[in-house]
């Protein structure tokens, strides 16, 4: 809730409310399998990662889960077995996402057997341009610099969800402030002109910025939203910490618990240099 975040900012300004980094000591939880994977129509190999959760403090070398048999199939009769390229990293060599198809990821591993299903949704708002606007430092803009604005037609028909991923000079922006998740509840069928996107650190002149629009199912959208809420959820109007949802289901008895997501998207990309 952006309005509530603004409250928090004001709190800090007026009443010197402050945040200090501290150490907390919590016993490590039970080992849980993580599945991370996303299939798109991009012309690059996609991977599915299997590993166990780790302690939340410090840097962690997650324990990979090797020697799993992972099969990806779609509802048009295509199927492919993934190839383990490095420990716990399984590559999809042939299949790409196609609009309307439903994909099934089946995992057989030492942790147990699992399955995930994901549908490829239409890309409801392809970007036709990307512009940048310079903003001075203020309450709303914590940092001075160029902020991206997107332009594009949202397709009529509600129930569309997208994520816009930003890349600066080729590297993926994945900080707390870089999340751009949109649903069309309030904007269905409108031309979205000049809508500012959020970035953790604004751009400077000469940055090459790529914006990728990813189509999402409602569930995948909410998965990303779960992550975003976790990352931005600390102040006075925080909600209780919630685990992210997952679309991975256990298919064998005694399979260890599982988290993570296997998603499918269509991706469209636009690139622009900040001038």
């Amino acid at each position: 809730m952006k309005a509530l975040n603004i409250f928090s900012i004001l709190f800090i300004i007026f009443f010197s409310s402050c945040e200090d980094v501290i150490d907390v000591d919590i016993a490590e939880g039970k080992k849980t399998l993580v599945v991370e994977g996303w299939l798109t129509n991009k012309n690059e190999p996609h991977v599915v990662k299997l590993y166990y959760t780790g302690n939340f403090g410090g840097s962690v070398n997650f324990t990979a889960v090797s020697n799993a048999v992972i099969t990806l199939s779609d509802n048009a009769g295509n199927t492919e077995q993934l190839q383990e390229v490095t420990p716990g990293k399984y590559q999809i060599n042939n299949l790409k996402s196609v609009e309307g198809r439903i994909y099934t990821l089946a995992i057989q591993s030492l942790a147990g057997n699992y399955e995930a299903k994901a549908e490829v949704k239409r890309l409801s708002m392809p970007l036709d341009s990307l512009k940048f606007k310079f903003e001075k430092k203020s309450t709303i803009y914590e940092k001075e610099g160029f902020y991206p604005h997107s332009f594009g037609q949202e397709l009529p028909g509600s129930g569309d969800y997208i994520q816009v991923r930003l890349y600066k000079n080729g590297s993926y922006l994945n900080k707390t402030g870089d999340f751009n998740l949109f649903d069309d509840q309030f904007v269905d069928g409108n031309y979205i002109g000049d809508a500012e996107m959020s970035v953790n650190d604004p751009f400077i002149k000469g940055d090459k910025v790529r914006a990728e629009v990813w189509s999402l199912t409602e569930d995948a959208y909410r998965f990303w939203l779960d992550i975003l809420i976790q990352l931005q959820n600390g102040q006075i109007f925080a909600t209780p910490l919630s685990n992210t949802r997952t679309n991975i289901k256990k298919t064998s008895l005694n399979a260890v618990d599982v988290v993570g997501y296997f998603g499918t998207s269509l991706v469209q990309s636009t690139e622009e240099e900040v001038k």
Partner: protein, 785 residues
Amino acid sequence: MKIISFLCTLAFVFGMAEAKAQKKVTLSGYLKDASNGEVLQGGAVAVKLPPLKALSNNYGFYSLTLSPGRYTISFSYMGYQTEEKVVSLTKDTLINMNLIPSSQIMQEVLVTSTKRGSENVRKPITVTALSISKIKELPPMLGEADVIKSFQLMPGVSTVGEGASGFNVRGGGVDQNLVLLDEAPLYFTSHLFNLFSVTNPDAMRDASLYKTDMPARLGGRLSSVLDTRMKDGNNKKWAATGGLGLIASRLTLEGPIQKDKSSIIISGRRSYTDLITKQSSDPQISDNSVYFYDLSTKLNFTLSDKNRLYLSSYFGKDYLNIAKRFGMQWGNGTGTIRWNHVFNPRLFSNTSFIYSDYRYELGVLNDPAVSFTWKAGIIDYTVKNSYNWYINSKSTLYFGVEAALHEFSPGKASPTTPESIFNTVEMQGERAADYNAYVDHELTISDKLSVEYGLRYSLFQSLAQGNTTVYDYSGEARAEKQPVNPKNFENWETIKTYHNLQPRLSFKYQTSENSSVKAAYSRTVQNLHLISNTVASSPLDIWTPSSYNVKPELADQVSAGYFHNFKDNLFEASAEVYYRKMQNSIDFINNAQTLLNSNLPGSMVFGDGRAYGAEFLVRKNEGRFNGWVSYTLSRAERKTELYKEYYPVRHDKTHALSLVGMYQLKPRISLSGTYSFASGTPTTMPDSKFEFEGIPVQYNSFDRRNNYRIPAFHRLDLAAMFKSRVKPGRKYTSDWVVSLYNATNRKNPFSIYLRQNEDNPSQLEAVRLSIFGTVIPSVTWNFKF
């Protein structure tokens, strides 16, 4: 309205019959402050032999029925000089008594000796009362005395943390307290990010908190009723009081319209936080504007000895403008018309017409592409008709009826410019009719035993506001459930009706002249629910009625206590224990969208709560050094469809200790201090993590809520008040109040949470949030003409 006139007639007939049947006479009238004509609530009118006593009600009216004879009658009220009068009673007699404040007689005398009350020991129901003058002596936060924060120093009353709006009573949520201002409900009780309570202490006469074991004449919420009453205004002479603080100022004007008969009071406050931010050279501050104001007005007219009329209103608003782009405002508005009628010396009635409105609005202002406004609110229209029937000196019957219509606007978002990307979205409004009737009997059975028992009946109807479709919801417990089985209702059609009986019983057994044992059982019902899943409730939270999918919340409580006064009531001590069970508590699925969600019931989960604890209080009410110590040991827990084992709620505090002291150093210098300690509240922390595309994701592998306690809370506040010398002939007095909030400069944690490390985005770091990270000094100048 038929039922009201029926009750009137019934009461009238009973009253008459009663008066004729016995050869007793009734002494009645009003107790008032001689200096300004304000009514005195809870003042005692007593005869020595036989030892009988009556207390004045909320409007200062008392009624004492005696056998004909000659009596010495004493009229007393704490802080006022006791008046004695010898009266020969042969028939019903009216005595309106004006009591003189003791401070006026004994100017600059340190120790006042006035009659002290012993109601805490004598009455079956314990009311937590703090006088407004006492509240004003406590160290103020930024120079503003605060009613709600003062009550948080009493046992059983707490808050989830500094900066959080509202208060928690005996483990209940902030929405389980009914805050009344001249009988009108206030739906959001804080100004300026919860710095101040919305009620202006300068305009207030009394504040009483009924904690859980409330009499049948009160209801509407599960945990408490905070009944605040506005001053009537000085009907003797014109007077002005006010104060200049660092961030806000106050001014109150009051005076007679017709001397001794009618008066008016107008009291306003405004913060100049917007002027302060404008002065800053840092655009990050100067671009923002934030302020609040409130205005309380009251008129009262004594139409005759039997009829009085009161008109009161309150209007408060907070404005917020961020970087000239984002705007927001919220506020309460209330209006009350009350008519007191004395049918006969033993039958007093009050009829109230009440309007209450809470609304907020926010939007993006100067950005055409994304402009919008979003409005939401709640409006209440209420009629109440209540009777106090003083049957005899040992028996008082309270009865009455109440009817209210609630209109809910859960939210409408619309674009303000044609270029805006947003469509108009409006949530279906809700409407409810709320009828209550009660009978409440206060009875002295013997010298030792007295009871107050009663029954409150509530009939609550969810009505359609416009053509409305309601749904059943089906699906997995953890996910948002989907609407199925639509049912259509036309405007005003009844969607669902709930009946609830609320029995209340309190009794007291006098174990000695100065001590008693009390026990109580109460059931309370709540039909208005705050939709909030955040730590602190925000002004954007909406209220929703019991409806097709939301059942009334119920609470049952048993409590017992021992009360002992020492040294002629100079010291009050009490120890109480309670156990409460709550049903149909509302919670939400994880990451529920609570605002602008047309399928909100699909995100709700329901559960049960329980709370238990022990509360201790030792209080010295007067003297050069006075104050109190309160300690609460408690636990508040909940379980729901999602979390099937009881877990502590977010505002659970195991230990809470408050020390409050006021010391008259010199005749014109007084010091005060408060120290609070509380155990840390629980919060939910992860026990492991994973990474998704390089982003750290927190994971709570056992999925336990509130599995971690944040560190304990300590705070010391200090204040000194310097009064001006009283010079003969000078018409005004003034004082300076200097205060230090959080004098030990402690960084008290409000919460602890994890965030992404800026330099190392795949890692998490733990953060402690302190709302007030420093000592906050303030100076206020108060004046009185």
